[in-house]
């Protein structure tokens, strides 16, 4: 009796084994199919989303080379029949626009304010991340609290302030008031704090001054963050509108967005969409170039979560 049972159980165990193996094969084949399906779906979804994301850029570029009659065709041409670049020429020739001067002004303001802002940000972030002093935490909390206040609020008082300094219609007024960004300080402080404190102590033991330590250790380690701060700041200068319009709206100091706005609002009448698109494309181009060359740094800087080593 017991012999038989044992036999049966042995055979069944064997069958079970083979069945399981077969199942495994089936499962793996099925898994493969599922995997391929899932991957296809993923690519399809991402492809569609990418198209949606890209479409406005495409539409801007395509529209900028169309003529108005082609632009308003009931069935739009996806590839323009006429490649009409005269809009671009017109953007540059526009007497009200003075694009070259605008570019130069914007670049100057952007570069100088970025450099100064970086220095201030690095020093402040270092103090918050590494130095111990009385009131540090309170001060930092206060800074963070100012971040919650909508910045638009500062405009009128700041205007009074810069005027009493005699800074109107100078580059100073475009650069100085917004040199400090609590957000950048916060960003860099977080980054600095990920550098182990022992590195600082080690440097102190080795007789490194704070500034040298900053320069030789902290800055290289936080470089991606610094680069992304640089880009953000440059983008800020490139896109700023309200403040420059208010405080430095003379030709010698006017910045690009304002220039565009002034030129297009004072032009009477017709909404020439292609011309408008060409102007936007020209103004957007430098940012795209920066992005193309520094993509790695921008993306890494923003998403970087820790340092190796």
């Amino acid at each position: 009796m017991s012999e038989v049972t044992k036999n049966v159980s042995e055979t069944s165990a064997a069958t079970l084994q083979t069945m399981r193996e077969r199942d495994m094969q089936k499962v793996s084949a099925k898994q493969k199919i599922v995997k391929i399906c899932v991957q296809t779906a993923l690519y399809l979804f991402l492809g569609v989303m990418a198209l949606i994301v890209l479409f406005p850029f495409y539409w801007m570029l395509v529209s900028s080379v169309k003529t108005m009659p082609e632009y308003i065709r009931p069935i739009p041409t996806l590839i323009p029949h006429t490649w009409d670049f005269h809009n671009y020429v017109e953007v540059f020739q526009n007497e009200d626009l003075l694009l070259g001067q605008l570019f130069a002004n914007t670049l100057f303001v952007g570069v100088v304010s970025t450099l100064l802002s970086l220095i201030i940000t690095v020093l402040s972030a270092f103090a918050f991340a590494r130095l111990e002093f009385k009131g540090k935490n309170l001060l930092f909390a206060a800074l963070l609290a100012t971040m919650m206040i909508p910045g638009e609020l500062f405009t009128i008082t700041n205007y009074q302030t810069v005027n009493s300094f005699g800074w109107l219609n100078t580059f100073t007024v475009l650069i100085v008031p917004f040199l400090v960004s609590v957000f950048y300080i916060y960003l860099l402080k977080q980054n600095f704090q990920q550098v182990p404190n022992e590195l600082y102590l080690a440097a102190k033991v080795d007789g490194t001054t704070d500034l040298k330590y900053l320069w030789k250790v902290m800055i290289p380690l936080a470089l991606p963050t610094l680069i992304s701060i640089t880009i953000l700041k440059m983008m800020g200068s490139w896109n700023s509108y309200m403040w420059p319009r208010l405080v430095a709206n003379d030709e010698a100091h006017r910045l690009i967005t304002n220039g565009l706005r002034t030129a297009f609002t004072s032009a009477e009448g017709v909404t020439d969409v292609p011309l408008q698109m060409a102007a936007i494309a020209v103004v957007s181009a430098p940012l795209f170039l920066v992005f193309v060359f520094l993509r790695k740094y921008i993306m890494k800087g923003v998403s970087r979560s820790g340092i190796k080593g």
């Binding site: 108005m68 909390a141 609290a145 005027n163 709206n249 609002t265 009477e268 017709v270 909404t271």
Partner: protein, 473 residues
Amino acid sequence: MKRILSTLLLVAILTVGVCGSLTSCGGGGTGGGGGAAADFEMPAGGFDTNTPITITFYHSMGAGLRDILDDAIADFKKLYPNITVEHQSFGDYDGVRDQIKTEVAVGNQPNIAYCYPDHVALYNEAGAVQTLDILMNDATYGFTAEQKADFVAGWLAEGAAFGDGKMYSLPLSKSTEVLYYNKTYFEENDLDVPTTWDEMEAVCRAIKAKEGDKCIPLGYDSESNWFITMCEQLGSPYTSATGENFVFDNAENYAFVKRFRSWYQDKLVTTKTLNSNAYTSNLFTGTATTGTRSYMCIGSTGGTVYQQPEQVNGVYEFEVGVAQIPQINPNAPKVISQGPSVCVFKKNNPQEVLASWLFVKFLTTDINFQASVSMNNGYTPVIKSAIENEHYQEWLATAGTSNVQALGVQMALAQAESYYASPAFIGSSVARDQVGLLLSACFASKASDAEIDAFIKSTFANAVSECKYQSGQ
């Protein structure tokens, strides 16, 4: 979080403390030209022709006009070598107003600026505008009797329409609204140019019946002007500088709004706002190239140049005609008076004010400048001598489709007796904006015939309360 909260609390406490101490010293940071400065007193030695002096002029001139201004400044420099005039364009009138408004708040206003009457009222809230009576009547530096007489009288008087009888601004150049029409089309179709709104409706319906979907017979650029002009023509209340300011909420006004709305709904008319914020001249001249055309356009004489059709093989697509805008009563026509005036701002240094005055006097009395501006863009000169000037008259004589500016000026001069101006007070510009908005809102409303009266009524009421809110009442 706790820490942030406690910080905020601290900030709040500090703030209340600081506020308490600040309430008493409100305008502490303001410099020259504040309200405390009394009326102008002529400096003892007269104008100092030795000390270099720089004055600033804010305007909204485009590139073409700026060249003319530069020439005028060069001419002025020959008369007064020690005065340097710097000028800057702020795109449009609102740009100038916003800039000066902020600057007045810190006592840093320019010396001279383009202005509309309600801008003057706004600046005057801070007492920043220099009254010109003493300067104007000064034996040495003021207008001569001839110069004073040279001004088109009605326009000069507008500068003193601020309730106290004092002179706050001088007219620089003038514009008005006229009816541009497609002369070729009108002649081909044997249409009469409308002189009343009833005729206008008939003409529009006739054109619409003929042209169908590809046509909106009439474009009216400015909804605000349309509303205000209708009030003026009908004699219905619009605004009042005294007592209740905003009095345009009345049945008479409902009626014309409702009437014109039906025009819009029947695609007989469009306005700038409802034409996707594009001047309706693009429909008139066909530059919109959307296929839809208009055959009449009511717009400013300041924008006449945009009413000029494109040339094909050296020939204009059609001939442009200019006429008075339609009236309620053609025997007593009413047309709006517009265009930039200039005002002078108070400064602590009387020499600066005097220099500003001299420049303003120069701009308003210089035939060359006055005529050049007019010839450039169709504005009307404010002095008769410029109008009667030989060269100018020659230019006027060439009026036609190739010289539309002159066409506009001719019309503007022809109706010199019909101009009106609305009262200026704080909030008059708000009222202007609001009536324009309410007109286009009623036009665009999808309300049914049963609902429309209620809709119009509530839109008017909202506009009045908005006026009151925005003007700080």
